[in-house]
Symmetry: D2
Subunit: 361 residues, 4 copies
């Protein structure tokens, strides 16, 4: 039971609304004696930060994180790490005209109906601003896992589909991902994507995206049978991100169209190392990591706040129209990359600790 808490042994609880004074999170279960400082976290927050290119919202947020507890003389003490990010560039007046209207595709309608009350300013708690807290928690998880496993552990996310345009996975270059405004791993498509997204934005519309997150150096044995499967928790993690509507592990939905011999990954011993001939499983067998690369992808639906005129109702039950002005990402999927990576780090650390608990190693 945890409305606003994620994780089992490595847990984080997030709080805060888009236009409240601040947002933040409390990370619990971080092992002691890990070097952690605000800079480690800031680097990740900066990657998610809005206003960095013409392809993201122009809301200007510093997203400056402060650590309030849990670190003593530069090291984690095993006690909860509280982090706070003050909200800066809030223009609540942008929301005055639509405060009584339910924006289609948003949670306005369901929140209001469920709770009988709603902070309409910038979506309040529903706002994707909450994901900054996840990125902060993920930065800690990353630090812990890197400290335990070493540099061979790394997680890389990328946008592999932007609206109707895919990239070529075979051209995936890690290094290229952070060098373009789309977190695109394939240099050959970036110009095309740029053109496409500008058109989308100009037309007052938006588009969806697919994000793929890969984790390397993950120890064999993470995950647990049946209801703590690693893939189950990853699906849960990714689906909890705003606007996500689908999650794949390895071949994912496509595996339905494969035959048994196409799908199952053959195992081969080569000198002293065990190798798989393919990775349809996405690095997870029976809910447990196999030592292969963990591969998760997820779809982010197009931004629902668009300039185009849409039919909706207001809180008094009257039919009306809405066109959402303000500063919105033409493709919210892009900024989901560091969020997906963060969730991957958190799930992996959680399972790392669980494995340590259950199997003592």
């Amino acid at each position: 039971m945890s409305f606003n808490t994620f994780g089992k042994l490595f847990r984080f609880t997030t709080w805060g609304e888009s236009h409240g004074p601040a947002i933040g999170c409390v990370v619990d279960g971080c092992p002691p004696n890990i070097n952690i400082n605000e800079k480690d976290i800031q680097i990740q927050l900066n990657r998610r930060k809005p206003g960095q290119s013409k392809f993201t919202t122009q809301r200007k947020e510093d997203d400056k994180v402060q650590i309030l507890s849990g670190i003593f003389e530069g090291k984690s003490t095993g006690t909860p790490i509280s982090m706070i990010i003050y909200n800066k560039d809030m223009r609540s007046r942008d929301y005055e005209t639509i405060k009584n209207k339910f924006r289609p595709g948003h949670a306005d309608f369901t929140y209001f109906k469920k709770y009988g009350i709603r902070d309409y300013r910038g979506g309040g708690r529903q706002s994707a601003r909450e994901t900054a807290s996840r990125v902060a928690a993920g930065a800690i998880a990353k630090k812990v896992l890197t400290s335990i496993i070493g540099k061979k552990y790394n997680v890389v996310g990328a946008v592999t589909q932007l609206g109707i345009l895919g990239c070529n996975i075979k051209n995936w270059k890690d290094k290229y991902i952070n060098k373009n405004p789309f977190f695109c791993p394939d240099k050959s498509v970036v110009k095309l994507w740029e053109k496409y997204l500008l058109t989308i934005r100009k037309s007052g519309s938006s588009c969806g995206a697919i994000i793929e997150v890969r984790a390397r150096g993950v120890p064999l044995g993470l995950g647990a049978p049946i209801y703590s499967k690693l893939d189950m928790d990853l699906a849960s993690a990714m689906m909890s991100i705003n606007a996500v509507k689908g999650v794949n592990i390895g071949s994912g939905m496509s595996s339905a169209q494969l035959t048994g011999e196409e799908n199952s990954d053959e195992i081969i011993k080569n000198k002293n190392s065990i190798k798989f001939k393919s990775n349809n499983a996405g690095g997870i067998l029976g809910g447990i990591s196999s030592g292969q690369e963990i591969i998760v992808s997820f779809a982010v639906k197009p931004t629902s706040s668009i300039l185009k005129n849409r039919k909706t109702i207001d809180k008094f039950g009257k039919n009306t129209n809405i066109s959402v002005r303000g500063r919105h990402d033409p493709c919210v999927g892009i900024r989901a990359v560091p969020i997906g990576e963060a969730m991957m780090h958190c799930v992996l650390l959680d399972h790392y600790l669980m494995n340590q608990a259950q199997c003592g190693n």
Copy 2:
């Protein structure tokens, strides 16, 4: 922390291995005073039961359930409901020849490496036999929700893709689903599917499938913000089913390719009822049910136990080959339909109770 427990307020814990004396589950959090009997549960178990057509494994299991607690004079008492199903048709010798080999696509390798021990008979705990317990728990959840909400509440699952062959969703007929061996909702494709699957089976191969589960009559307001989103818990539920590799809510992965105006479902007041013009959201907005039909689909990979010869290693680390004889479903996805329905019932009841807790209604 619950390796073998699913749910928060309505919880079930499953236990048992494929070739042990029995399997079963304990259902906790069932509201009191609900009429429940073994027949309600048996009906659902029979739908999952193997050996019912030539398209499923020929293992003959009665799957006869006994209730051992929690029911008094035909009604639930609010105390845990323990159910047991004895295993009957176990042919452990089928597994003797492969006991030291890791079957590709199965959890053999990861279980053994994680735990240092493995019950190899029929996959032991990894076996999809565990899902019978889910179906039993789901039958109880169904009974409770129907008792509370009434007959307008219903959940229907179907196979919408069999290997490379899709069905036409527009032809979906609930009534037809239980009248063919594929849980196919589209009469026009059944002959084709039959032919296709027979070919697959004859060749000693297998194929994957996509299952779609729809819930109607679900009250508005189920789900909770951020880390208890209804879609998050549904993704988690479906991904926990053996062999599932992808989960979609509504338009799912396809939503990545839509524009904002194509994707967001417009809201309209028509006389006294609120309607949506489309259902890309799959009935869930911001993690909370909107009153629309809930739509979840998931991909089941092809059966990994196939006759075809595959490369693998044994527990001593030696390269070897494997060809799995025995009685296996050519498409395990088919029998996943009642399992998907069961998980839907369980997640919805869990969230129904949570909503009752948090919002008092």
Copy 3:
């Protein structure tokens, strides 16, 4: 959220009513590769079993346990261990005359008012018969901890107060405890206790008791800050046992009357070992085990089912009288000794695993 589950990483879920077909439990989170067999569990169940002396109820129960899952070739596999105990000597007719009356001191009144339904036979789920499941789970925890820590780990419980008669803690002899029908550690008082309890029983009354449980060889460092304190979880564990009304850690309630210098245990380094000059803390400082003996005691109220005539009401709200015949323990506290020990084992293993998770050792 776990109405019928105890524990975090080492968890057990119990089910079953006094007069249903069976009771049992599912143990989850047991580490793999531990030798466990039914005999290990039976030994502990026999210590709790009724009908062993004239000082306990004459209900004759075999309490024969069967393991249904989780053990393969004599070893735990890391999967859930399901255990079942069939009920034998049920005389439900004993309860016919009082089925509509609420027995004072029992949960009859509150269960009925809460759930609107009640299995009146032998108390149904409220019956202390549920504690057999705890003893079974505790036997597994004991096996695991002994296997990990070695023989220096041991837990010993005893009755230190029987009604108005205390024993002399200074005379505590472990070996003597299992050699008298009271689990009394002090040989000098047994004759007196015997006489006292016979008088109590003859008069149709009952008496309370205090049980003390000591754990030795517990590693330093078990427990976690604030809301997973070891003493907090021990208090929770003991208070969950039927009829328990008070729990002490170390000096417990008496510590209120001490001064700072009397209470705080001085620490001394003696050669290579760290020693405490006293143990008012009961082996727990700041919620974390200090390496000293863990000492917990708890009070069990007198059996509420007595022959003496008592005023009560019936389920129709009418005033009436009740005198409970049947086979009842004159002091239920006595049989609480193996239960208290079992809960101690379970809490310690749970925290052992948690410590392994959080601190990696």
Copy 4:
């Protein structure tokens, strides 16, 4: 699994160290549409605040709370309520001389041994300063329950034993409790207590205390069988408070010395209301509230930080002596009164919500 989170449906997570920049908590599961403001919380914090009389520590803390989220236009929204209290009067230099020594009776030794690191300043996370967060969370729970149940709901705590001096429970006057520096309910003993505590303080020593907390107007039916018993969760709650070593429900430890007829509370129907002739049960039968007053008491050990010279070791394992100067409460038990009340509110609200979930009322 929740090292720093308390509760199931109504949950709060606390963070912060004694001498860090701030402490705080995140309250999750608060029902929507409840009027809550900082003043409601401040009132309770002021009751716990140090420096209010010569009988508490002279550390001067404003304990000024700020709400950072979860409240919109004066009402709860159902989203997490984050509260922060900045630390002001920190004199870390007081701790310089003892930074390498383990204070007897404190968690210094166990924290250091467990985590291999310790924030020694003012006890860091072990400090009772954490309890301010509990009081803040409790103030919210109180507001919710009063809003739902009405004014008949109230919780009153008092000190009933100060060191060796008890008060007379028959003289209990609610109104008097907040009018003396000891939260003493019995006017006749206050002068004596004052004299006694001044002597204790002058001698550089300290004393323990017993706190009793009573809840009235609690609905019948809160609590749940076996492992979510109301008394179990209350024991857990109170034992989690710093320095608590024993917890009683109703007659508590004394119930061991009663006979069956003395102990079990007879039930009587009087006109239209059901009454109990006594309340040894402390308002809880079978783990479920009976509608009677809930009575919980707990013992707080004497302050461990005393001027008197004590033997201990340092972090290098060397024998040494310690005498703790600084500003300490001569009896920490006194300030535990509002903390005990807060925990009572939180546990009751948690169970109120659970009951609403399970039984729909």
